[in-house]
Symmetry: C2
DNA sequence: TGATATTATGTTATCGATAACATGTTAGCG
DNA sequence: CGCTAACATGTTATCGATAACATAATATCA
């Protein structure tokens, strides 16, 4: 292996010179197709191997106006949800030959949003995946800003909006499934510990709870629901509060597994038997939930699948735009599934 | 806001023309320093704002041979550990003005490693952060390949090697702290459920267990340790096995919190009282561990800090190289801390 | 007052590739 | 045998910026 000064990058020119051909010919060899004689091809390939030449994707991106890179904007990776989504995104991107340029967002200052988008565009990403939870009106910029962005944008876990692509779990349906399951188990007094209200996903899960109870002719009063914030610690407080505000409670639908864990623990401490006296259903199906005591019935959402689906759609949009076809925006809902475990046995 | 065809990028030339100056002058305005008259600067800035010009970082990277982008290679983001590290990396990178080009590795095929590195280099990253756990000899390539890589490389959670930069938790010390704590609680028969042996981190934690017992004059026999694989399910099996192979067991040091969760559950099922009959100490301090029943004593490792530290060092290495100073490789050990909770009360 | 430094700006080359166009050779066919 | 199509390769322009160098106008100083 011949290696000159390792600081010096080996360029297409070096290869061209060493092989005694033009750079264009080297480019043709590297990119397969188009006419190159077998003899020339072989000679160039030998030189490429010998010099250890690797083309600069950067230069190629500039000249082709295409980077094979996706911008991905996430929020708070310290939680398991976003990173499982990212996992799916990374796998699928790899499969389809894209790299990921990542940016983590930690607040919703509008300037910050513009900066993030601009910094991605400045690096010539072919598309942007926005994987930031929808909270309050923090997606309000979308409608207005959208058409000024020269590449396709796809939103993950955003409330469907017409004309804008998105992929999300059907949280409402998840809530319905959870509560319907509890009803099927013969429960009548079903409380709810919600996520932080204003988060679209939390609101949807709560709506599933509420509408399913109503449909069954049961009452869902304000005091039957306590607001949490996804964390175990708030889950504990919320549960304690719920026990007071909903006497006779015989089941709880908890908006995520982490809070459900606290419910199980606090119930145990107080001698409330789960599931006999209290059935519990969570949401997310984190791997540990099968090992809670008792094991947790939960609504499973396939976050890696959502991430993968998002990338798939994005790449299709990019290709459509490449071919100057109209990219059709679509909102995709992925259905969650119910996983029944010990915490909700039929009585 | 004047917007022409949104597909057409506004370049430095457009600005130069509109402002009646050369591109070089625009470049000078955009990059502050260097001489520009106040009048010209203002005129250019107005045009920039009016046209909504954003420089192409891509083009800049090519011409400066510097991208302000770090390549980051991770492994299996679906686990919480890697993503917490990534969280710290992302925050610090943002703070220091770098973006992240991410690649997820899912196996250790040597070709794959070369491909990953080459694909990052092709995109002109200024440095590479290798955040893949060290398993068996999957880092064997390091010594040989290292000097051919033209940018600094830093390894996370790798066994220190001279001449190579790395940042890692002191897993051995963590093991020592866990076992010492159990000894301090008056335990004598301390078993261990390890991570998958061959993983450096698992081996270190086990070594901490073993050496601490030996130092205390206690025996640590083969049958006092069962190998797990970090997962809750294996944790359960390992614990059951350990109960058989180590009669009289009065404490367990479990190599991660997820497996410890299973231990707590299985102990409860069998009527083994924690901590009275059995003290349990985990490792990681995942947020949920405070809400296990009973709450889990554990060794806390600050993964975001490690990620941040890694970025910090990396940027220093990049700057040193920029200034043609010799970048000094250093291996940093971060000390974990003991968090005492209910699962290990003194008897 | 002329020499030198400072300020302000423009011109040309360069980063590493590909696109578009040009040209030359060979092969096939009527 | 001459014309066209297919093949093979080279030349020049371009992507969007910055580096290096050049030039001109002031300002400063001995």
């Amino acid at each position: 292996m011949i290696l000159s000064d390792r600081r010096k990058r080996i360029t297409i020119k070096d290869v061209a010179q060493a092989a005694g051909v033009s750079t264009q010919t080297v480019s043709r060899v590297m990119n397969k197709f188009s006419y190159v004689s077998g003899e020339t091809r072989q000679r160039v390939e030998e030189v490429v191997a010998q010099l250890g030449y690797h083309p600069s994707t950067l230069a190629r991106s500039l000249s082709q106006q295409r980077s094979y890179t996706l911008g991905i904007v996430t929020f708070d990776l310290k939680y398991i949800g976003p990173s499982r989504t990212l996992n799916g995104i990374a796998d699928k991107a790899d499969e389809l030959g894209y790299m990921l340029l990542m940016k983590e967002l930690d607040n919703f200052d509008t300037n910050k949003i513009d900066d993030v988008i601009d910094s991605l565009l400045a690096r010539q990403v072919d598309g942007i995946l926005w994987a930031v939870p929808e909270i309050g009106d923090n997606h309000a910029w979308v409608e207005e800003r959208m058409e000024k962005i020269p590449v396709p944008v796809l939103f993950i876990a955003m409330q469907p909006r017409s004309g804008i692509s998105s992929v999300a779990t059907d949280n409402f349906q998840g809530g319905v499934m959870a509560v319907q399951h509890l009803l099927d188990c013969g429960r009548k007094k079903i409380g709810h510990i919600s996520g932080p209200l204003g988060w679209w996903e939390a609101d949807e899960r709560k709506r599933g709870w509420l509408e399913t109870l109503n449909a069954a002719g049961l009452e869902a009063l304000d005091q039957h629901c306590v607001e949490g914030n996804w964390s175990s610690i708030r889950g504990e407080q919320a549960f304690i509060q719920l026990l007071e505000s909903y006497p006779g409670l015989d089941a709880v639908f908890v908006a995520n597994d982490q809070m459900a864990l606290s419910v199980l623990r606090e119930a145990f401490r107080r001698g409330i038997n789960v599931p006999e006296q209290l059935a519990v259903v969570g949401f997310d199906n984190i791997p540990e939930s099968a090992y809670f005591y008792p094991s947790l019935t939960t609504i499973s959402q396939d976050l890696p699948l959502i991430g993968g689906q998002a990338v798939q759609n994005m790449v299709e949009m990019i290709q459509a735009r490449q071919g100057d076809q109209p990219a059709i925006a679509q909102s995709i809902f992925i259905q969650p599934t119910l996983v029944v475990r010990e915490s909700s046995k039929r009585v």
